[in-house]
């Protein structure tokens, strides 16, 4: 019961955020780069919902304009993570043996880099930019999805339908892709959504450290780090993007939790 409500609240918040970020492509209340010295540090009001920043820029416009970069980076990195994870997990799970052993050991090693350390390493190695951020974040998800997909594959492998296909002489490639993988998709939904919320959190962290999405593109994490210098006079500059980050992550956490509950029920 409770989980159903969680799922609904999560979907509502996430839809609003996604809708606003789509609208922001076509329409923004204010120009996000236009500086206006007369309107510096205005507190939240009806004309500027989230107030204005040190350059007199409208924070609401900047926050919803930033959403599409954060969301698209998160989407792309989870997508790459799932694709590579599926490739490795299906191979390791289906063939087993030494291949599986090597893949899983490397995944364990990757997994032992705590938190965003691996992403930081990637950023250090590559040039700053959106593509680097996507690559750096996707590497966080490869071990996560590889493990889930491998254990799913192991379960499916012993099912009769796979054995029958094997006896009929269907190629391993076809069994994996056409027979096993579609059966794993439902169990992946909640993992993908949880991964997505982790990706948003990690992207915000990288941007906060100045290593994520680069200026002049607006990004939530960087808005927070820039706001720190005038925190006392204009706390809304930090609170607005921060609360939006929290709401976005909460919504996807709720959806992910609700989905995994649905799947197990």
């Amino acid at each position: 019961m409770v989980k159903k409500k969680d799922l609904r609240i999560g979907i509502i918040i996430a839809s609003v955020i996604i809708l606003l970020s789509i609208i922001s492509v076509f329409y923004l209340p204010y120009d996000i780069n236009e500086m206006n010295t007369q309107e510096r540090f205005l507190p939240p009001s009806f004309t500027h919902w989230f107030g204005t920043d040190n350059f007199g820029r409208d924070i609401f416009s900047r926050v919803i304009a930033g959403a599409k970069y954060t969301l698209s980076v998160a989407f792309a990195s989870v997508f790459i993570g799932v694709t590579l994870g599926a490739l490795l997990g299906l191979t390791a799970g289906y063939f087993g043996g030494i291949v599986s052993e090597i893949v899983m050991r490397v995944m364990d090693a990757l997994n032992s880099f705590p938190g965003i350390l691996l992403s930081l390493m990637m950023v250090a190695l590559l040039k700053n930019g959106q593509f680097t951020v996507i690559l750096a974040l996707s590497i966080l998800f490869v071990p996560f999805f590889t493990r889930i997909i491998r254990s799913g594959t192991l379960q499916q492998k012993s099912r009769d339908y796979v054995k029958i296909a094997q006896l009929q002489g269907v190629s391993s490639f076809r069994i994996i892709l056409v027979h096993i993988f579609p059966n794993l998709i439902p169990s992946l939904f909640s993992a993908v959504v949880i991964g997505f919320s982790n990706a948003i959190l990690s992207e915000a962290s990288l941007s906060y450290l100045g290593l994520g999405i680069q200026p002049p593109l607006p990004s939530w994490g960087r808005m927070l780090s820039e706001s720190q210098t005038f925190l006392l006079n204009a706390p809304w500059c930090a609170l607005a993007p921060g609360i939006v980050i929290v709401l976005t992550i909460v919504s996807f956490q709720l959806i992910g939790g609700g989905l995994s509950h649905e799947a197990s029920a």
Binding site: A109, L125, S205, Q228, I249
Partner: protein, 313 residues
Amino acid sequence: MKAILKRIGITVLTLLLVSLLAFTAFHILPGDPASLILGTEGTPEQLEALREELGVNRPLWQQYFSWISGLFTGQLGNSIRYHTPITALIADRLPITFTLSVLAIILVLIISFPLALLAARKENGIIDKVVSAGNILGMSTPDFFTGIVFIWLFGLVLKWFTPGKYIGYQENIGEFVQYLIFPALAIAIPASAMVTHFLRSSLIQELQADYVRTAYSRGASKGWVLTRHALKNAMLPAVTMLGIIVGSVFSGSIIIEKVFTIPGVGQLLISSITSRDLPLVQTLVVYIAGIVVIANSLVDIVIQIIDPRIRIK
């Protein structure tokens, strides 16, 4: 004993893989670190001299082995940016990050155990629901945002501490620890949410057990059963999480050190990344990952000793 030896074996193997991953990552790049450092202004002689200094003109396997032995002996050469030995740079900052992490772990225990016990007292009760909601919020709030809110609320509005006025442990150990309390709390919140969530479900599961019913039938109160019987059994799965907590606390401190301007290992890592001080980045990454790997296996071994039922796979 055999299981413990096996765990140590796996740990060594993981550490080797971690170092190999980090090393290859920094060496498979097209382009040469010397020209990366000098930029376009470097003359061929300067480039050659720097390559010699970095040791990058030797075969890769030699570089790997000299680096690995350097990790143990501390002979890692100089940082490109600071021109001081890498080991000294890290040794200076390690006590700060270490204190911050230990404080955070203590806070995680102080916060999560009472909350989990309170929530488990009455499943789906009002306290349980509030704690669950708090858990989701705690897990979803980035630690750097919590840190910024703390600076604003406790530092600037309530003036409980002076943001940015970090005091070194060499100067005044008391004030040093005091300054670290709020940063440690910001790191501890997401980790506490994780532990609370986990401990609560394992407590509720334990409450279904036969021994709990027996305890009730002998007239034990709910609080007594929870703390004296169920907690002991519920704790073990929660202790296995300690490894994950160590990792999350360490990576949390990387960011929090920037929020509160604490000159620890995390700040060093970030500044070495922005200044492309690759030898320093490579070493820091492996040290941090190594500490987490070792902490993880220590936790596993301790659990194995406490409760032999749990087999190490």
